[in-house]
């Protein structure tokens, strides 16, 4: 959690000698400066850590626990053209090392977001990634236009992978042609960095990644939740209000790491990796698999300061291992 400015004071002053040469020799060995900055398809981030959409609200919810200025980016709750009410309860169920959710994209609509939530985020020196979803290509186009004209939006993450809504989610994301079509329409309507968020609920994630890359995506986010289900043996009924839900948390991490690895090797786009990242070690695993940046999701619920701990932990890992640029770790496991 040390800031660069504090590092100077970490070394007691009495270690310094009067000979300037001795001092120079000592300094780099004690605290090498490390570069945490990454570029995610045109989005410049001061470190590789953002929040996963839907787990961090619109930002202010976590402001008491997280210094929003320290995040690499803030990814806000999925936003649609019209307000959405979301699914009936229960919307969340715990599973071993994971959770199932079926929120159903509850959100106040894009106009409300721009008028009421975005101004708050402009107070921070942190890029804002807005996750968007729609029922139709026209919806995606219109949401894209409205957000592209709003001050303070740094990038769009296109949700073509929500498992919890009938339309506008996974239906698009699991069909290669439809997925590419959504990305093409969004691309036509924005110059903002465009991140396509992919569904893991497909046979071949590499194929779909290739299609959305051709359609104009600047980066890929993966993975969204895995479609899952829980049945209450007492009532003999599905536990969740929407029958099925999306599985997140450490339970899905190995699947996510595998998909990041496969996609990163096959598609020349930077990847925002996510899926069960709880700590810096998990985040580093994704980076080594080929992710240029990572998103922290379910971990926020367990440890509201998780993103801060992860940023500090990545920096520490780099120092401990003599890595001066985080970009040198991206895909390092391939070698």
């Amino acid at each position: 959690m040390t800031k660069p400015a504090d590092n100077l004071t970490d070394k007691p002053a009495d270690n310094l000698t009067d000979n300037p040469a001795d001092n120079l020799a000592v300094k780099p060995a004690v605290k090498p400066a490390v570069n945490l900055g990454v570029n995610l398809g045109g989005l410049q981030m001061k470190n590789p850590v953002t929040t996963a959409s839907g787990t961090f609200g619109f930002g202010p919810e976590y402001a008491p626990y997280v210094d929003l200025n320290r995040l690499g980016a803030i990814t806000v709750k999925g936003t649609t053209l019209e307000p959405r009410k979301g699914n009936p309860t229960p919307r969340i169920a715990e599973t071993p090392a994971g959770i199932l959710n079926c929120i159903g994209l509850q959100n106040p609509g894009v106009d409300h977001f721009i008028a009421e939530d975005l101004p708050y985020l402009r107070n921070y020196d942190t890029p804002v990634i807005v996750n968007i979803a729609g029922n139709s290509l026209d919806d995606y186009a219109e949401v894209t236009r409205r957000l592209s004209g709003a001050q303070g939006v740094s990038a769009l993450e296109v949700n073509i992978s929500c498992p919890n809504v009938k339309q506008g989610g996974m239906v698009f994301g699991t069909d290669c042609l439809m997925a590419a079509e959504v990305i093409r329409v969004v691309r036509e309507n924005t110059k903002l960095p465009l991140i396509a968020k992919l569904s893991p609920n497909v046979t071949d994630i590499v194929e779909i990644a290739g299609r959305v890359a051709e359609a104009g995506a600047d980066a890929l986010a993966l993975i969204n939740t895995l479609l899952g289900m829980k049945i209450d043996i007492r009532t003999r009924k599905p536990f969740l209000g929407n029958t099925m839900g999306g599985l997140s948390g450490p339970a899905i991490r190995p699947v996510a790491v595998r998909m990041v690895w496969q996609t990163a090797r096959a598609v020349r786009l930077p990847i925002l990796g996510m899926g069960g990242i709880m700590n810096a070690e998990d985040a580093i695993e994704f980076i080594l698999a080929g992710a240029a940046a990572v998103a922290v999701g379910t971990a926020n619920f367990v440890n509201p300061g998780a993103a801060m701990d992860i940023i500090a932990g990545i920096e520490q890992y780099m120092k401990d291992n003599g890595v001066t640029d985080v970009n040198d770790l991206v895909g390092a496991a391939w070698k």
């Binding site: 839907g54 919810e61 009410k85 919307r91 715990e94 379910t298 619920f301 367990v302």
Partner: protein, 251 residues
Amino acid sequence: MRVYVPQLTKLAKPGQFVHVRCSSGLDPLLRRPISLHGIDYGKGTISLLYQVVGTGTRLLAEMAPGDEIDVMGPLGKGFTVPDGIKKALVVGGGIGVAPLFPLIHSLKHYGIQQTVLLGARSADFIIGREQLELLGVKVKIATDDGSLGYKGFVTRLAEDEISGGTPDYFFACGPNPMLKGLISLTKGFGLSGQVSLEEYMGCGVGACLACVCKSKAAAGREPDDSAEGFEYKKVCVDGPVFEASEVILDD
């Protein structure tokens, strides 16, 4: 369980809750929302009363005095005692009596008369009767099996109290069917009040939208794609305490 946590205690109000990590591992993963059963501002402690129902609460029960615990809070919007009320009816069902204790202390502090109704499956599940009687509060009991007090639902006792015409406000916490019955009963008598709700919860800070309840949408701002006449509010930050007239409880 009593937790020494002075910074949190200083800010705590009746009806609020804390989000408790029951394990340092990954199962159970989520925190458990547990209401404040006692707030000792002098000692800097809060007490938590919970029923062992699953892995999380079992792990809590296995903790030993002196162990450290990770609690987040105080969270949520608690009870507010409206100006001018003179006699309150307080209704608790099962473990739902837990958050009512700090409220009962506050009502007493404000010199508001109160009758507390406790309902449970059987005598073994009636919580806090002795403490309340020591406090000098009038307590009436209902049990499903009649092993203590009135045999039947606590809502029946509530009906007797209200039709007796004495309370001018009510506070309640308990299972949804009880609250639903109570809301409809009090509506019939024109009695206002507040209810504390429970829902499966994720973040506890209003970010994940897991713990929602149906609320009668304010006119003109229906955020609706189906015009069903309600909006979802967040139990964790808009509640857990809501105006009784506002909430819509499902069966």
